[in-house]
Amino acid sequence: MSAKAKMKQVFDRPKSLKDVPYHYCPGCHHGVIHRLVAEQIDAFGLRESTLAAASVGCSVLMYDYFDVDVVESPHGRAPAVATGLKRSRPDSFVFTYQGDGDLAAIGTAEIVHAANRGENITVVFVNNAVFGMTGGQMAPTTLLGQVTTTSPYGRSAATDGMPIRVCEMLSTLEGTAYAARVAVNNIKNLKKAKAALKRAFTYQTKGWGFSFVEFLSSCPTNWKMSAEEANARVGKEMADYFPLGVYKDVRAN
C-alpha cells in the first residue's frame, strides 16, 4: 500500500461491536450475523438506545461483543424478557438473538405469544438445525435423516416429526408484522439478509409491530463438516427445506 493516504476504507467493523475476537468456531455464521445486526444498529443510530435480550446457546456471550446494554435470558425466554424490556422502556430499540434450540424448542410458547401480542420488538433467529452449544443434539429444525448426537440413526419423521418451519408458523399469527428467512452463505443472500434486517429495524423504529428475521446458519463443528461444506449445505439442503424469502410484510405496498 504505497499511497496509503489516498486509500479509503470501504469495509470496517461496525461501531456497535467491540473490537475483540469471537469465541465462535472457524466458519460459524454467528459471526457474520452479529456484524449485520451491529451494522443496522449503527445505521439507525441506535447504539445508545438498544436493549438486547441474549439467549442461551453458542451466542450467549453476545454481550461480550455487542457494545449495547444486554440482559441474559433463561434458555428460551428471551421474547418474554424482551417484552419486559420494551414495555418498561418503549423508546428503546429491543431485540432478541436466539438459536433454534432456544426459540423453536424450549421457547416455543414465548415466541408464539410475543409474536401474537405483536410486541414491538425484533427477533433475530439463528437456525443452524442443531443445538450448537451443548454439542450437537437434534433441534426441532434438524433436517430429516440428519445425524446428530441424539439422533444417531438420523432424524426420523415417525418418531421425531418433521423439521419445524418457524417463519411460516409465526406468519399465520395476526401479531407478526414482518417475517423473513435469509442466509449469509453468499453475497447475494447476504445482501437480502441486510435488507431484511433493515426492514425489521424499520418496523420497530416506526412502531409497526413484531418483526422476525430467521437466518439459516452453519455449524461446521456439530455438522462435522469443513467450513466450506457447511456453508454450502446452508444454501442447498437447508434452503431447500426452509425456503428463503419474505413471508410477511404487512406494510408492504
Binding site: V71, R87, S88
Partner: protein, 353 residues
Amino acid sequence: MARRVMIKGNEAIAMGAIEAGCRYYFGYPITPQTDIPEYLSAAMPKVGGVFLQAESEVAAINMLLGAAATGVRAMTSSSSPGISLKQEGISYLAGSQIPGVIVNMSRSGPGLGGIHPSQGDYFQSTRGGGHGDYRTLVLAPSTAQENYDLTMLAFDLADKYRNPVMVLGDALIGQIKEPVELKSYRKKPKEKPWALTGAKGRHGQILKSLFLADGELTDHNWMLAKKYKSMEKEVRFETYRAEDAQLLLVAFGSVGRILRTSVDILRDKGKAVGLLRPITLFPFPNKAVRQAADKAKVLMVMEMSTGQMVEDVKLAAECACPVDFYGRPPGSIPTPDELAKEAMKIWRKRGLK
C-alpha cells in the same frame, strides 16, 4: 390521616404495589391470588402503568426480569404450582442481581392439590426452590394490613439488596377482607446505576449470571452469600403475650394470626402461653428464637404442613429448650380451639404448670 378501607387481602397487595411505585405487573391467573391481576388490570392503566397477562407463569417471571433489568419496580404474583414454574427465573434474578417482587398466595399441594390455605411452600420460599445456592428475602404477612405494608417494604428491600423478594401468604391471607389503613409511601427511589437504560455516553452494560472463568463464579457466590448474611438486619417478628410465657408458640402467616385467639383462650384458662410470629422467614429471626428458647420452658411450632419451619426453629433454638410441633396439612382451616387443644397436650406432656 390515611384512608381506612375494607379490602381483600389480595387487593391490599395490589394497592401496596401501586403505592410503592410499581408500574409493571406481569401475571397469569391462578386461584387464590387472581384478585391481584384482576385489580391491577383495571388500576394500572389509570396510573400509566403496564398490566400484562402473560402466556404462563414462566413468561411472567421473565417479563419481570426484563422490566426490572431496566430499573423499574416490577411485580408478579401467583400461587403454588405457578410459583414452582417460576423457580428457574427466580434463580436467574438472584444470580443476575435483578430486584423484583414475587407474591405467592400459596394453596394446598402437592400437585394440583386444592385451593385451601397452606404453608407447604415454606421450604421452597426460604431455601431457594430453584437451583443453586441463593436466597430470596421472604415476607410473611398475616393480615390485609400487613399485605399492604409488607408489599411496599418488599420493593424497598428488593432494590436495596438487588434481590428477588417473596411475599408469602396463602389462600386465607389473600381472600380475607379487613380494614386497611392506606398509608402513603414516601421513600425516594434508589438510584440504579446498574440498570439497562441504553448505553448513552458509555459502553454497553450487562446483567447476567454466567461466570465461566476459573474461580469467577466462586467469588460471585461468596459475594452473594455475604449479601444474604447482611440481610439479617432486616429481621422482623412479632410477639404476643410472650413475656412470661412458659409455652411459646411459634407460627407464621395465617396460623400465626389464628394462634392469637388460641393464646387468648389459653390465657383465659390461666396458662402462660405466648406467641412468636416470624414476619421475615428469610432472614429468619434466629436471635429472637434463641432468646425465647432461653426464657420459655418449651417452644411449640405450628404449621399448616407436616413440618417445615420447625427446622428453622430447631436450628435457631440450639437445643436450649425442647421444640415441639403440631402439623396440620392443608385441606381445611384449623380453628383457634383446635390449636389451643394441641397446645394443651404439649403443656401437659411437658409437665408445665
